[in-house]
């Protein structure tokens, strides 16, 4: 939708870059203010290290702590959880829309699960899957599942009646009706669910890595914090942010490709 609105303004490249530049500028200004506050002892540097120190710690974290390997590990876990929650979540949402009884039986507790602190179940997952990447992936998957199910359900239920009637008037079969009308009409909603699901998954993946001291960036953050390497901890957190940024860019690309291209 926003694509269309900006189309006539394509000539003004500055206009298009402005939001991104403003965002970047805000971050820079925030860092400068932090630096200033810490330098003037307004904030204790034993609580927050100055941004310059965090930046300086990057080479060390990359070389000595193998942050790139850990980054790939966390990225891979999130990817696995993301693929699983998309496939399973959308399928379950579709099933619940198809079978009224299933929806009436499950919708409430799926919604309840969405706000439950699933991360507290990690000991259970440890017992089931062992202390390995699967525990982490499954935690992320379970935590991110409810919003995908709910948004898929909402999206398909909310398809305008007249579009369904257009399909009926063209005598679509049931599977055509789903693939050619219900599903594409629900896609924007489904993507909202996937975005939310990915946020939950990422939080839980890193959280469980931290808790069970295993795997990627979460474990690294845990170790660095225990060594009281504050600058390094924050540098590692920057990589978590990077994972989330990458995922959002990928989802946005996928959405644009699916909703616009034929």
């Amino acid at each position: 939708m926003s694509m269309a609105a900006t189309r006539p303004a394509r000539r003004f490249t500055l206009n298009r870059a402005l939001p991104a530049l403003t965002g970047l500028g805000t971050v820079v200004v925030f860092f400068l203010l932090m630096e200033l506050a810490i330098r003037t002892n307004l904030l204790s540097q034993f609580i927050v290290p100055p941004p310059s120190e965090i930046i300086a710690s990057f080479p060390r974290v990359i070389v000595e702590e193998h942050v790139l390997n850990r980054f790939m590990l966390t990225l891979g876990e999130c990817l696995a959880a993301g693929v699983m929650l998309t496939v399973v979540g959308v399928s379950l949402g579709v099933l619940m829309q198809r079978f009224k009884l299933l929806q009436q039986a499950c919708e409430t507790w799926v919604a309840a699960l969405a706000s439950a602190p699933v991360v507290l179940c990690y000991p259970l997952f440890l017992v089931i899957f062992g202390r390995n990447a699967w525990t982490i992936i499954m935690m992320g998957f379970v935590a991110g599942l409810p919003p995908v199910i709910l948004k898929t359900l909402e999206g398909i239920t909310g398809v305008r009646r007249v579009l369904v009637n257009v399909g009926r008037s063209f005598k679509l079969t049931e599977s055509q009706q789903f693939w050619k009308i219900l599903f594409p009409a629900a896609l924007p909603n489904i993507f909202v669910g996937i975005r939310l699901g990915l946020i939950f998954a990422l939080i839980n993946v890193v959280g469980v890595e931290f808790l069970i001291n295993f795997g990627g960036l979460g474990q690294l953050i845990n170790e660095l914090a225990e060594r009281y390497d504050l600058a390094g901890t924050y540098a590692a957190i920057c990589f978590v942010v990077l994972v989330s940024v990458l995922f959002f860019m990928a989802v946005e690309k996928a959405e644009r490709w699916l909703t616009r291209a034929e």
Partner: protein, 276 residues
């Protein structure tokens, strides 16, 4: 009154159709023993006050809604579900927002498995027919309401229905757009010799376009009268100023006013009833 309404050669025959809805307040008869026929190539309008059962009739003929009794036939076949001979254009906006204009219009061609290159060419033909050249690659959200209705029309025309069935397709548009689109529809109808059944509550629109107008009564929806419109063709919206046109409008307005005021009284009574 029923006898002259139908003809053995009619392509669409609606015979004694009744539609009753069960509501918590009891049964509501929306369409009451309606009979009429549509001749090959003709433009027939159904006009009636709001709530008289026009959309209900539209849905029955389109096969989207079952009826309580009576029969409806198209090209000799009973309607009991959407019929391939009938193409519907809906009152609400019904383009697919995830497809551009070409892919919207090519939709019915895709369903019959026409190869891509060929269906794009066919789609172009219908896009240009409704006057949307140059907008082939636009998406519905980049078009005005009138243009979107033209996309819906082109999409239905692309399925080459024997009968084009339209339910107040221009109701949501302003008067000027409505008149100009009316011209467009007339022009297409003449060009394709398209049998058309238009549902409307706009008298000017009905008189401008139709060969015959079927006037419905307000609740229960019955056939009040069928008026032959003897105005020369080809017609455009210019005809709206002529004297003969004015006479037809006045005649139909007289019929409708009676029904509409009965409807208003009826609704007021219901509201009073609800209050006490």
């Amino acid at each position: 009154m029923n006898a002259p309404l139908q003809n053995p050669s009619d392509i669409l025959v609606v015979d004694d159709v009744v539609v009753r809805f069960d509501t918590p307040e009891g049964a509501v008869t929306a369409v009451d023993h309606v009979s009429f026929g549509v001749r090959q190539g003709e433009f027939l309008s159904v006009i009636g006050p709001s709530g008289c059962g026009k959309s209900t009739l539209f849905n029955v003929i389109g096969g989207l809604l079952g009826h309580t009794s009576g029969t409806a036939n198209v090209a000799g076949e009973t309607i009991n579900g959407p019929h391939p001979s009938i193409g519907m254009v809906f009152q609400e906006e019904s383009t697919f927002p995830w497809r551009n204009v070409t892919d919207n219009v090519a939709f019915p061609l895709e369903l019959i498995g026409m190869p891509k290159a060929q269906r794009i060419e066919r789609a172009r033909h219908f896009i240009s027919l409704v006057g949307l050249d140059g907008f082939e690659n636009r998406y519905p959200n980049e078009l005005s309401g009138g243009m979107r209705q033209r996309v819906s029309l082109a999409r239905t025309l692309a399925s080459e229905p024997k009968i084009l069935l339209m339910d107040e397709p221009f109701a949501a548009l302003d008067e000027q757009t409505r008149l100009l689109l009316g011209d467009k529809v007339l022009q297409i109808q003449q060009q394709l010799k398209q049998t058309t059944l238009l549902i409307t509550h706009n008298i000017t629109e009905a008189v401008q376009m139709s060969d015959r107008i079927l006037v419905m009564t307000y609740r229960p929806g019955k056939v009040k009268r069928i008026v032959d419109i003897d105005l020369p063709r080809p017609r455009t919206s210019d005809i709206v100023g002529s004297e003969a046109f004015g006479r037809y409008v006045a005649q139909i307005w007289a019929d409708l006013r009676e029904e509409a005021s009965r409807g208003m009284r009826d609704e007021e009574k219901t509201m009073m009833g609800a209050k006490s």
